[in-house]
């Protein structure tokens, strides 16, 4: 990361890119890193805070061990995506955006993964599961 910041000099245009890298590396944006990024890019911390909270990709808190994402795009919605999300919430005993008590799963939703023909779609850590049903959710989670 250090390197990346140095390379980008004083340019805000590198910000989203850097945030992606930090997010990928730590699984979240550690708040203590903001000052560092701000200094190197020569922009204010509050500007960075504004940008990172604007986009769904970034989070200031660490997530669970695995991230479960349910597609809530239109195609998945008309095939029962909401039911899948509801069932996930019950199974994991959390709401969307939260992490299960044992720290194992974070539940998220997304507005379309571009596999609309095989919906409802669920991903776990980027692995795709097509044609999700209320019945096969348990077996998906059991893999982890």
């Amino acid at each position: 990361m250090e390197n990346k910041i140095k390379q980008s000099g004083n340019r805000q245009n590198e910000l989203v890119h850097i945030l992606h890298e930090v997010q990928e590396r730590f699984g979240y944006i550690p708040p203590e890193r903001l000052a560092e990024i701000a200094k190197k890019l020569n922009i204010s911390e509050s500007e960075i805070y504004g940008v990172l909270t604007f986009y769904k990709a970034f989070s200031l808190e660490p997530g669970g061990e695995h991230t479960v994402t349910v597609c809530m795009g239109t195609a998945c919605h008309v095939r029962g995506g909401q039911q899948i999300t509801d069932e996930m919430e019950r199974k994991l005993d959390i709401k969307v955006g939260q992490t299960s008590a044992d720290g194992k799963f974070t539940l998220e939703t997304v507005n379309c993964l571009g596999c609309c023909a095989i919906g409802p779609v669920v991903t776990v850590d980027g692995k795709y599961y097509s044609h999700a049903t209320m019945k096969n959710i348990a077996s998906i989670l059991k893999e982890y």
Binding site: N13, I118, M134
Partner: protein, 636 residues
């Protein structure tokens, strides 16, 4: 191979690639885009590799791995060339049999063939399947032939020929005139004539100009841009370089949504190759033209697909839209003249240059030329991406190409244009599809999403779904969008929960009209469309929710009950075991009963009840009230 520094070298390279192609007896083409991989294509590839190795056929039989072929419902599928035999929904276990029978003995395996849902006929050859036969795959045909990670495959299929022609035989005016004459209109939503847009930008004097490819594809349910970028990234890149030459730009960006990791990957590989061989960078193909392209990964915000927001995002800022004018052609990225087009728009360019504007403008309708890729999804038999000439009717698209509605249900509506579009009812099925007819119907072409809805879809729920979407995605900069979409959503929620009142329909209409006329950007201006079109074509459904507190499509949770039919239930325990809240009672071989006070209406019992019994029903309105009353009486 080194940098190509002359068009002749490009042709020599092409010849060399073609003459070096291995002469396989047969080739197995395996589609392995995101849908393919999600459905298990990687295991199919492995199985073929192993089987060919085992049988010592590696020099005789080829494997070609491509991205999406569009028939995503049938993934993982393979085409065995040269005969063109299509096998669908494969499992690794099928592979040894395919090799043994079809590849070695030219014997067809009927159980792996596609069956036409209308005629029940099994079809052997891919191009004869109605889904493919009715299409005109000009843009997407190469998705069958190209391994997107190999630039050689693109070169062998006339790749970068259009660029060579433009750089050496055409002036920038010629290029713009050709694009204007083709009639090409932007595929990203509004359908603005692309050649004219280029001309605006060309005519602005500036030291630096930018080109952008909008690959944010925010419309949930549309994924043609993903398929093009994953399957044939060089066609988009070539289009951009040609555009840059015409406009006089030196730098370009591809803004790709982060939800498409494979598209980001394949584009990055393609850019790397294009740089290496001299299609990008300094002195392209030995000409005096220099151009660079960067890839920018989005960060998950729908509004960033709007052009001014997208530019703010590239600049590292929040994706807030800006008032236009000034238009990006004058003042765009970092205040410089910028031309932005959608992925599919760019992909059309090499074809227009290669085949000519005259050829192109013959396809489609007078005002909407060319083909358009639609994503046909929802309650339809043949889900997938279809490329068809503009002007085809909805009926042809949905019933001939799409194979009709799933499970023989009744067609109710098709939603086009995503959150900015609207729902088109059954009595408009004969509408020929182009930019103008869709706009007249109150919807838009948008990026080409077509979500097919059957009798089990509630139109008020659909409107609520979209308003929920736009309300969450509103960037909050302007009041009509921020507050207005929330109010619309709240009113719709109230109606779907059975608290609608007399006068709500008029209030919805007024509020929708107000937002439409006063929001800052396209997001807000079009957000009311799903409400307006459902009000226009499905008002009786709103009335049923409001006046009778009933949901005719049996969707809205608060307005329905689940009920186990005593004369159909055989007491198999399946529903009882699946109920997450233990609301179902009854022993094995005894009729089960739902305690309505405990039921959360998750629908699990309805889903698990065996199809041949169909013992779980849904009821709404008066019947629902009766069932709830009976249930509470029984308990007491």
């Amino acid at each position: 191979m080194k940098r190509i520094s002359h068009p002749n070298q490009l042709n020599e390279w092409k010849e060399e690639i073609i003459s070096n192609l291995p002469s396989y007896r047969k080739t197995v083409v395996i589609s392995s885009g995101t849908c393919g991989q999600a459905s298990g294509s990687l295991q199919i590839i492995d199985a073929f590799e192993q089987e060919l190795e085992k049988k010592d056929l590696k020099n005789d039989i080829g494997i070609k791995i491509t991205a999406c072929h569009g028939f995503c419902e049938m993934e993982p599928n393979v085409i065995i060339q040269p005969a063109g035999i299509f096998y669908k929904q494969l499992k690794p276990e099928n592979v040894p049999e395919i090799v043994e029978k079809t590849i070695l003995q030219d014997e067809i395996i009927p159980s792996l063939l596609y069956e036409d849902p209308a005629t029940k006929q099994k079809i052997e050859i891919q191009t004869e399947i109605p889904f493919y036969r009715r299409q005109k795959r000009f843009l997407t045909d190469n998705n069958f032939k190209i391994d997107p990670t190999l630039i050689e495959d693109y070169i062998a299929n006339d790749g970068y020929q259009a660029l060579a022609k433009v750089l050496f035989d055409m002036t920038s005016e010629d290029v713009i005139d050709e694009v204007i004459a083709s009639g090409l209109r932007g595929r990203g939503g509004a359908g603005f004539p692309s050649g004219r847009k280029w001309k605006f930008c060309r005519d602005v004097r500036a030291d630096v100009k930018y080109i952008i490819c909008n690959a944010d594809e925010g419309d949930p349910g549309a994924y043609m841009d993903r398929s093009l970028l994953e399957g044939n990234p060089h066609s988009v890149i070539e289009g951009m370089i040609i555009g840059a030459y015409a406009i006089g730009a030196t730098e370009g960006y591809i803004y790709c949504r982060m939800e498409y990791p494979m598209a980001v990957k394949n584009v990055s590989i393609a850019l790397e190759q294009a740089r290496k061989y001299g299609f990008l960078g300094e002195s392209i193909l030995g000409s005096e033209f220099n151009f660079r392209i960067h890839i920018f990964k989005g960060a998950g915000a729908f509004v960033s697909g709007e052009e001014t927001s997208l530019m703010a995002s590239i600049e590292g800022r929040r994706a807030f839209p800006q008032q236009r004018p000034p238009f990006p052609a004058e003042s765009g990225l970092w205040g410089k003249p910028t031309n932005i087009n959608n992925v599919e728009t760019w992909a059309n360019i090499p074809m227009i240059i290669n085949k000519g504007a005259e050829w192109y403008s013959e396809i489609g309708t007078r005002t909407s030329t060319g083909t358009k890729i639609f994503s046909l999804v929802g309650k339809i038999n043949n889900t997938g991406l279809v490329e068809i000439p503009m002007g085809m009717t909805l009926r042809e698209i949905i019933f001939d190409v799409g194979g009709g509605i799933k499970d023989n249900k009744k067609f109710k509506a098709v939603q086009t244009g995503g959150p900015s579009g609207g729902c088109i009812p059954a009595d408009m099925l004969d509408l020929p599809i182009d930019y103008d007819t869709l706009a007249k119907a109150g919807s838009i072409m948008g990026s080409g999403g077509m979500i097919v809805m059957d009798e089990d879809t509630c139109m008020v729920d659909v409107a609520k779904y979209f308003l929920n979407f736009t309300q969450e995605e509103s960037c909050g900069k302007c009041v009509p969008c921020r507050i207005g979409t929330r109010q619309l959503k709240e009113m719709l929620t109230k109606i779907t929960e059975g608290h609608g009142e007399e006068g709500d329909i008029e209030k919805l209409q007024d509020l929708a009209d107000a937002i439409k006329s006063s929001a800052l950007c396209g997001l807000g201006q079009t957000a009311p469309n799903p409400v307006l079109t459902t009000l226009k074509y499905f008002q009786e459904e709103y009335e049923a929710h409001i006046k009778e507190k009933s949901c005719p499509a049996l969707v809205c949770k608060e307005l329905i009950v689940y009920f186990i039919e005593p004369d159909k239930c055989v007491g198999c325990l399946l529903c009882k075991q699946s109920c997450p809240v233990d609301a179902i009672s009854g022993e094995r071989k005894q009729v089960h009963v739902i305690d309505q006070a405990l039921c959360i209406k998750c629908g699990a019992c309805f889903d698990v009840c065996p199809k041949k019994l169909m013992a779980v029903s849904k009821y709404t309105g008066k019947k629902k009230e009766k069932i709830i009353k009976q249930s509470s009486q029984k308990k007491n």
